[in-house]
Symmetry: C2
């Protein structure tokens, strides 16, 4: 029968100690399940703590335990991206699910660029506001990894692994997914294929592009890559550019759901039938991909699980405090064929076979 805490003074272990007629040290032992108390005293203290509705004061505990019981996540993309793309909210949902089960808080912040992101890490760690951070959107020669190591702030790289293996990471086999995609398009008879990538400075985007080049070369396809900044506008521009070519690609693979949906709209506006004239593939499934016409073929991943996995990895890194943890591979993206992909126009397969 927990009494009403009301808006009055907080219940502290001193209150418990007084009521139980013991010292506050004894109360602390009881509440933390440490040995050195008789069964009866322990039970009495716990009962009183419950009656008074006691909860530990986070700051007080952090001060001695040197634990913030919070993990951090900084997003250094424009705020709009957060809202527009399926990846982040889904990833967040997965992270949250993992954290809330252990009463660890998630501290979220948006930053304008990588430099201010690093500044946030520095501040968070100096203030001991977080115990560790999840790092997303790894860049080529990323300044964050070096700084995180220097600070000694536990971190997990989402989308690694990192060269050198200095920080633990979670990752997908992007290469295998790209190979599956390119083989699929080749099997449909496509010869001129293109990829609309995200920001080339991002490791996940550039590694997919590299895999794309390799796979098209191996299968003797013509492969082009155009860059964007993940905004719908840049995707529209990229698509227009590709389809204005005298010999436009007959299949375009995009690096996100937003890019693909925008590209689809542009293609249709330009009079291209989808998938009659051009096939379209998205990366990461979402409602967006399913409601357009035709619905988009995608490379789907279980993003919430990815978030949970990253989170577990981070919590482990915090406990180990740096030792090992290593890299963990998540299930790779799987091709989900829908209406936006079909055979290459003009039976390219026959022409090529001749």
């Amino acid at each position: 029968m927990a009494t009403k805490a009301g808006a009055g003074r907080r219940v502290t272990i001193n209150d418990i100690a007084e009521k139980a007629g013991v010292s506050k040290g004894a109360v602390s032992y009881a509440l933390n399940g440490r040995p050195g108390l008789s069964k009866e005293t322990r039970a009495r203290i716990l009962r009183i703590a419950d009656e008074l509705g006691w909860h530990p004061h986070r700051a007080a505990r952090s001060l001695s335990a040197a634990r913030a019981d919070a993990c951090g996540l900084v997003l250094a993309r424009p705020a709009r991206t957060l809202a527009i793309e399926a990846f982040f909210p889904e990833f967040l949902a997965g992270v949250e699910a993992e954290l809330s089960s252990r009463s660890v808080a998630l501290t979220l912040q948006l930053a304008s660029d990588v430099d201010s992101e690093v500044a946030i890490y520095r501040r968070w760690w100096a203030e001991r506001r977080v115990d560790g951070v999840l790092v997303v959107d790894l860049r080529v020669n990323d300044p964050r990894t070096e700084e995180l190591q220097r600070l000694g702030l536990p971190a997990v790289i989402v989308g690694g692994p990192l060269e050198g293996g200095a920080l633990p990471s979670v990752w997908h086999d992007e290469r295998a997914a790209v190979v599956e995609l390119v083989r699929y398009l080749a099997a449909l008879g496509h010869v001129r294929v293109a990829r609309v990538e995200g920001v080339p400075g991002f490791v996940h985007s550039s590694s997919r592009s590299k895999a794309f080049y390799d796979a098209t070369r191996e299968l003797e396809l013509s492969g082009r890559v155009v860059s964007t900044d993940y905004t719908p506008e840049s995707s529209a521009r990229a698509t227009r550019q590709l389809l204005s070519d005298p010999e436009p690609p007959t299949a375009i693979a995009y690096d996100s759901d937003v890019l693909a949906v925008t590209g689809l709209g542009v293609a249709q506006q330009m009079g291209f039938a989808v998938p009659g004239d051009v096939s379209i593939v998205a990366w990461d499934d979402s409602l967006l991909c399913q409601v357009v016409h035709p619905p988009l073929t995608t490379l789907s991943r279980d993003i919430p699980s990815y978030g949970s996995l990253a989170c577990r990895q981070l919590l482990a890194a915090i406990d180990d405090h740096g030792t090992s943890s290593g890299d963990v591979e998540a299930p790779r993206a799987e091709l989900t064929p829908r209406g936006s992909t079909g055979p290459a126009p003009g039976d390219a397969r026959a022409a090529r076979g001749a």
Copy 2:
């Protein structure tokens, strides 16, 4: 020239005091800009603090200042909703923008239902993990408001105002927006109009429905309302139900972007031309509404600003500590006509005029 903090021991005010040859009290005065120090000493202390790269330990400060420097937000909807609907990420982005400028953290948590949400508030407040919370998805007879008042936890109701005015709130004039919408549909000649609402237990959804009934009655239209649980599946069911009627509505207004987009798909699948046979309107604009064919007419709000506004309101409530703050009205949703709405089929206006 801030020296490297490295992975070593934290810099504390004791380190600064020692290096400056003063007591830690003096350092505290200097760092907090309090009077009682000579100009030179103050400057020296600040310089050394900067050199050592000192940041206040959040927990230590919280312990005496009784401030967590964090705000809380609990979402008691299924995790999927977070990812699927435009509202939350956009709202979050607005909240974040406001908070990060004052180095207040946002603590986010997902809950399965209102009861566990209340439990989270109780815990957060007892642990002094947050200074205040934003409450979204206000329900009819919401148990949260009473509990928040009882606890004395500063809170802002998003989507109020609350009857009784006990807690400060931010709100839109939903009624005016609904009236504008219904007038617009009536002007297009629609007589049988329907509304697909969200969860009827939510205040914003039920108040819109009430306004919808009132507005249709006033304009002598036939108005129906069907409920959903905000999932695409429930919207598909609702739409199918409405359009299977012997006298189906010629215009359907949905309570979110997701509901509307799903409804559009179902309508087209059932052979209804949009907007030829049935007009469709969404609530809250998003990329989703713009990429479908036809693009959806929406009631658009500036959601990030709404988030920022709510956040400023909360910070004020925390400072005042309960006194006043009151309710603040945000700009109401504006109708953005696009291709999904058109004249009622069969020149309903003429028939009605006869």
